[in-house]
């Protein structure tokens, strides 16, 4: 019964968001903005409880997925139904989203204690939760597109939260436009697939894909359109820059964004997997994009000095692994990876935020020696790091192992290498992250840095608990990959890759042997990685330049050619009138001459047809 009311789950946070309206423009000033936050935490709590109860009911009754629909719009031959899928997977995803948002919101109460924009902040967090829970519950590509697009707007507003800072403004702009580009190409895909499949329902699309026979070129184009949306959401190359710039937004929103918002793209990708599998080209494109981003992202992350940027590029990289998983048709591995990634990344971001808050700086080079002052934060970061890379027995290991086993079985040897390399570099980057922050002697900025307020510690500790217990949870839910199907060689290889990455990083950054570990790396390569393969410049020289030039050109044409022509016509008629008035001489004879000449000309013209006859007649007469 409670599963049937699952459609209420996204509505709780939405109502919470609506209830904050009186505080946002300052209609209620007497209480200060804090009640807005508490209302939203309560709403998220209700959503979490509801989803837990629904999940429990569904799990205990062992029922198959349930599908619901409600009519939305009927026009002509188009019937749009809001369709929902209530299953263990979707409810599990909802629990993850609501749970992480609850943690992030409690964390925000501590982190944004002195901020004046509470109403806006919590309303937007609630909007994100509502949008994402609706997205995972919804079973229709069309509504998935709608929700992704609404989340794009949410990203714009949330990244632009501190809107009076110039970097924030450009960050918000770039986030919005990059995601919107992806969304619109997705919209093109959505438009294009309907005439082929006559449905947007994910299940019906999958059923259609089993027997569909479509033109491969067309299907490749449609497929590329469909993956463009997830590409921009998951911050995949070349649409990855926004995630880096989005780090200008408030940190508690980054917890949610890096952990689950980027994964919305992965979710849609998994849902669309049967359709995408229709075109081998699309699969290849996905694998190529995923590998590029995974390798590039981890490498760039190693070269970042900003705490949040290290993590943001790791997000892109792990989403790249999800692209590889879906591209090699392993949706289950992709979902498992998203789950383990989300928890671990949330921990890492929370740990980073805890440091930033009272160290004041985000520059890793100015940090160090924090271990003695804040062991719990250190522990959080460590657990997050271990949970993210493939280190047994934590969650990340099983997800990666499942992926690699599948890759090996599908004889994608090269991709196995890519995953191992990504894993090793990610481990190295995280060791560097940890080492620069916590190891060594305290620097000027880190001398006075106590653990933060309990409001931030509690979510962190809860997160640590969940990450550590994730394997047990997976075991209980039967999500743990079956031991007999797993490739033990791969398990060893993965573990060794992680250990190698961690040890190398630990030696260089925790043990701090040697003066400057950078000197072995050529300057050009360092800069290439530190400046994100010069992507900002790439954008500026390509798309931005083209649009800018084009807009100036059309504006110029509009002003001086199109409108100029019109004004010329106007001016010409005025001038000709003015000029002609001087030809009036006032002499009667001249007017008479003009009139008679004109009469003659007109009569000749009018009798033109008969002129030959007249001439012939005259000719015959003369003869």
């Amino acid at each position: 019964m409670i599963t049937e009311t699952s459609w209420l789950i996204p509505l709780y946070p939405l109502i919470g968001a609506l209830l904050t309206i009186p505080w946002s423009p300052g209609l209620i000033r007497r209480t200060g903005p804090r009640p807005a936050g508490y209302i939203n935490i309560a709403a998220t709590g209700m959503a979490l409880i509801h989803s837990l109860l629904a999940f429990n009911a569904l799990w205990n009754s062992h029922s198959s997925p349930q599908f619901f629909f409600a009519p939305w719009l009927q026009v002509a031959d188009l019937n749009l139904n809001i369709s929902l899928e209530v299953s263990a997977i979707t409810l599990g995803a909802v629990i993850l989203i609501a749970g992480l948002n609850l943690l992030a919101q409690i964390y925000a109460v501590g982190y944004l204690e002195m901020d004046w924009g509470w109403g806006r902040f919590f309303a937007l967090m609630a909007l994100f939760e509502a949008g994402m829970s609706a997205l995972v519950l919804c079973n229709s590509l069309f509504f998935a597109y709608i929700l992704l697009e609404i989340l794009t707007l949410g990203t714009y507003l949330l990244v632009g939260f501190w809107y009076n800072q110039p970097l924030v403004v450009t960050g918000a702009r770039d986030a919005f436009l990059t995601k919107r580009v992806g969304d619109l190409v997705l919209l093109m895909g959505v438009l294009a697939i309907y005439p082929l499949a006559h449905t947007w329902d994910f299940r019906e699309l999958a059923a259609w894909a089993q027997t569909a026979e479509v033109n491969p070129t067309l299907m490749a184009l449609v497929g590329v359109g469909l993956i463009a949306g997830p590409m921009s959401k998951c911050a995949q190359f070349p649409l990855h820059l926004w995630l880096d710039e989005a780090m200008e937004g408030p940190l508690p929103s980054t917890i949610l964004r890096n952990a689950v918002v980027v994964a919305t793209g992965a979710w849609v990708l998994v849902k669309l997997q049967p359709v995408l599998a229709l075109s081998p080209t699309v699969l290849t494109v996905m694998v190529a994009i995923g590998s590029t981003t995974a390798l590039g992202g981890t490498l760039i992350s190693v070269a970042q000095v900003d705490v949040k940027r290290v993590l943001s590029y790791l997000s892109s990289a792990y989403m790249g692994l999800v692209f590889i998983a879906v591209g090699t048709q392993q949706p289950a591995a992709a979902l498992l990876l998203v789950l383990t990634y989300a928890l671990a990344m949330a921990l890492l971001v929370m740990g980073a935020g805890s440091t930033i808050l009272n160290v004041i700086t985000q520059d890793l080079r100015q940090m160090g020696g924090l271990w003695s002052r804040r062991p719990m934060t250190g522990l959080t970061v460590l657990v997050g790091a271990f949970g993210l890379v493939a280190l047994p027995p934590l969650g990340g290991f099983w997800a990666m192992l499942k992926l690699v086993t599948g890759l090996w079985a599908g004889s994608h040897g090269l991709l196995v290498g890519v995953v191992l390399a990504v894993n090793a570099i990610a481990a190295f980057s995280l060791a560097r992250f940890f080492g620069l922050m916590f190891a060594g002697k305290p620097h000027q900025m880190t001398v006075r840095a106590p653990e933060p307020i309990w409001l931030m510690m509690v979510p962190m500790m809860v997160g640590v608990g969940f990450t550590l217990h994730l394997p047990l949870v997976l075991q209980t839910l039967g999500l743990m990959p079956d031991f007999s199907t797993l490739n033990m060689d791969m398990a060893l290889a993965l573990t060794w890759a992680s250990i190698a990455g961690f040890s190398l990083g630990a030696v260089v950054y925790v043990g701090q042997f040697g003066e400057n570990p950078n000197r072995f790396i050529p300057k050009g390569l360092q800069n290439l990685l530190a400046f994100d393969f010069y992507t900002p410049r790439l954008y500026r020289l390509s798309v931005v330049l083209v649009v800018d030039l084009l807009s100036r050109l059309t504006d110029w044409l509009d002003r001086y050619f199109v409108d100029g022509l019109v004004n010329f016509v106007g001016l010409a008629s005025l001038v000709s009138g003015e000029t002609l008035k001087y030809s009036n001489s006032g002499r009667f004879q001249f007017y008479m001459l003009t009139i008679s000449v004109c009469v003659v000309v007109i009569s000749i013209v009018m009798s033109w047809h008969y002129l030959p006859d007249i001439f012939t007649a005259a000719f015959t007469l003369m003869n």
Binding site: P25, A70, D77, F176, L187, P195, A207, V562
Partner: protein, 526 residues
């Protein structure tokens, strides 16, 4: 039943004009009361409208000059109903948002009401000459509204507007006269003109004439250059009426007379119109990006958005035409809210320059509520789902994709470019740091905000529940598409014509269960 839509505002206008001792405040109240009554009457019309009848309802006929074929002949179908409603609503809202400190308030309000009456009559006219008459009649008050109460370069703008529209009227009259005279009669009834059986060549020429005539009014690129000048020079309420309602007269005329009277020629020209529409969308959006004046930017956005309407009309499907009809309404509402907010910003901050404006989102010294509404309006215009603009644009795209994939995809790109300039607008005006030295703006009162709040509510509500909008236009759109001979559609659309959707052979396990309550279903309309 329909005459009050003309009569109430006309009587109000005359009363205002004659009442010499009337104070500014009282003139405003009287004008608002008149417009409000018209609006209520329109609401009542909605309750009386029969959705099952796709033809003209509530006919009214009064012989006027039968020798000329000019008669007072009104009728209402779904398309007219929506347009009339837009007119009544926006007139009331524009009157509300006109500044209280106007020069010559009686003249202003009475001219505004005259425009409203004329436009309502044009939307209802069932006689070609009557339509032409009313189309031309509201030109005079509009000229005065721009020329007297306008801003910079107002006489230039007003004259340009007058000349363009007069040209449009002349071409239209030529088209109408030729149609009727070629069919050997003096019967200017719309129904008769619809049944004409002219040769295709003649039809095409006449349609071309009408397309250019209405293309000037809409306006379509390259006949658009009067628009930015006029919209920018006009005061806020006049710009709202010009962009929100008057531009619809062009698209309305195009569909009613172009598509309605010459379906065969329309089908012939449709592919070119689609390309033209996509070009217009891109042109408007790209040009808007380069603008430095926010009102001018909004004006160019209007040019782009009218392209979606044309695309929907050219696509020859029920869905696209329904989309086009509803897009006319959503464009009207969105443009009105944008002009209102831009006017508010100009009134409070004193400038419309992008390079000067900054940080209006500031909750203490900026205009936070206005900024929030501006975000909503901009996003609605950029087609973000959940708002009205998306639904209508989507219907157009979905309907026209099957017929014209490439122009449709270009138009989708246009919505991306729309997002670009609205982001520029929002980032420059609402975001950023407010300069404390100059930030002594007068507070925006609730009264000033009120029109925007109403429009925002409508935009949001119809975005979530589009049935309430779509239902009214759909039967008419279907009947108009049905006019297009199947043969001509086949010839033009060829194998790309939408095949009737083949129901998927649903496997047994794809069971669905209706939710116990309808989340968003509109069970029945009044």
């Amino acid at each position: 039943m329909l005459t009050p839509l003309l009569l109430i505002p006309a009587v109000g206008a005359i009363a205002l004009a004659c009442w010499s001792g009337c104070s500014a405040q009282r003139a405003r109240s009287l004008a608002l009361a008149t417009a409000g009554t018209t609006l209520l009457w329109t609401v009542w019309l909605f309750t009386q409208f029969d959705l099952t009848d796709p033809g003209f309802q509530m006919r009214e006929f009064l012989p006027w000059i039968p020798q000329l074929g000019l008669n007072y002949d009104l009728g209402l179908d779904g398309l007219s109903l929506l347009m009339v409603a837009l007119n009544s609503l926006l007139t009331w809202i524009a009157l509300w948002s006109s500044p209280t400190t106007l020069d010559r308030p009686r003249l202003f309000y009475s001219l505004m009401l005259l425009v409203s009456a004329g436009v309502a009559g044009a939307f209802l006219a069932q006689n070609l000459l009557l339509f032409f008459l009313l189309y031309e009649v509201e030109l005079v008050p509009l000229y005065l509204l721009v020329a007297i109460w306008g801003g910079e370069k107002k006489t230039y703008a007003a004259t340009k507007f007058l000349l363009y529209t007069a040209l449009s009227g002349a071409l239209m009259l030529a088209g109408f006269l030729a149609t009727v005279l070629l069919t050997d009669g003096l019967d200017f009834r719309y129904m008769t003109a619809m049944g004409q059986t002219l040769p295709l060549v003649a039809q095409t020429i006449l349609l071309g004439c009408l397309v250019v005539a209405f293309g000037i009014k809409i306006p379509l690129v390259p006949f658009h250059t009067w628009l930015p000048d006029t919209y920018v020079a006009a005061s806020t309420p006049v710009a709202m009426i010009l962009g929100g309602v008057l531009a619809k007269l062009g698209t309305y005329g195009l569909f009613r007379f172009g598509l309605g009277m010459f379906p065969d020629a329309w089908a012939l020209l449709a592919p070119y119109l689609a390309v033209w529409a996509a070009g217009g969308v891109l042109y408007g959006a790209v040009t808007a990006i380069a603008q430095k004046d926010i009102k001018r930017m909004v004006a160019y956005s209007s040019i782009g958005h009218m392209g979606y309407v044309l695309l929907g009309g050219a696509a020859l499907t029920d869905l696209a035409l329904t989309g086009a009809v509803t897009q006319m309404v959503s464009h009207g509402l969105i443009l009105a809210i944008l002009f209102h907010l831009v006017g508010l910003v100009e009134a409070k901050v004193g400038t419309r320059e992008l390079d000067v404006l900054n940080g209006l989102m500031n909750p203490i010294r900026g205009l936070p509520m206005t900024s929030a509404l501006l975000v909503l309006g901009g996003m609605a215009s950029a087609g973000i789902p959940g708002l009205m603009g998306f639904v209508t644009e989507f219907l157009v795209f979905q309907g026209s994709y099957a017929t014209y994939p490439i122009p449709t995809l270009l138009a989708v790109t246009g919505t991306g470019l729309t997002a670009v300039y609205f982001i520029i607008l929002l980032n420059r005006t609402c975001f950023g740091r407010l300069d404390n030295a100059i930030a002594y703006f007068p507070k925006v009162s609730f009264t000033e905000q009120f029109p925007a709040l109403i429009l925002a509510t409508l935009i949001l509500f119809l975005g979530i529940q589009p049935n309430w909008l779509v239902k009214w236009g759909e039967p008419t759109a279907s009947s108009m598409v049905a006019l297009l001979l199947p043969r001509s559609v086949e010839v033009i659309a060829g194998d790309r014509a939408p095949t009737s959707p083949v129901a998927l052979e649903t496997p047994a396990d794809l069971s669905h269960k209706a939710l116990p309550i309808a989340v968003a279903g509109l069970k029945s309309l009044p």
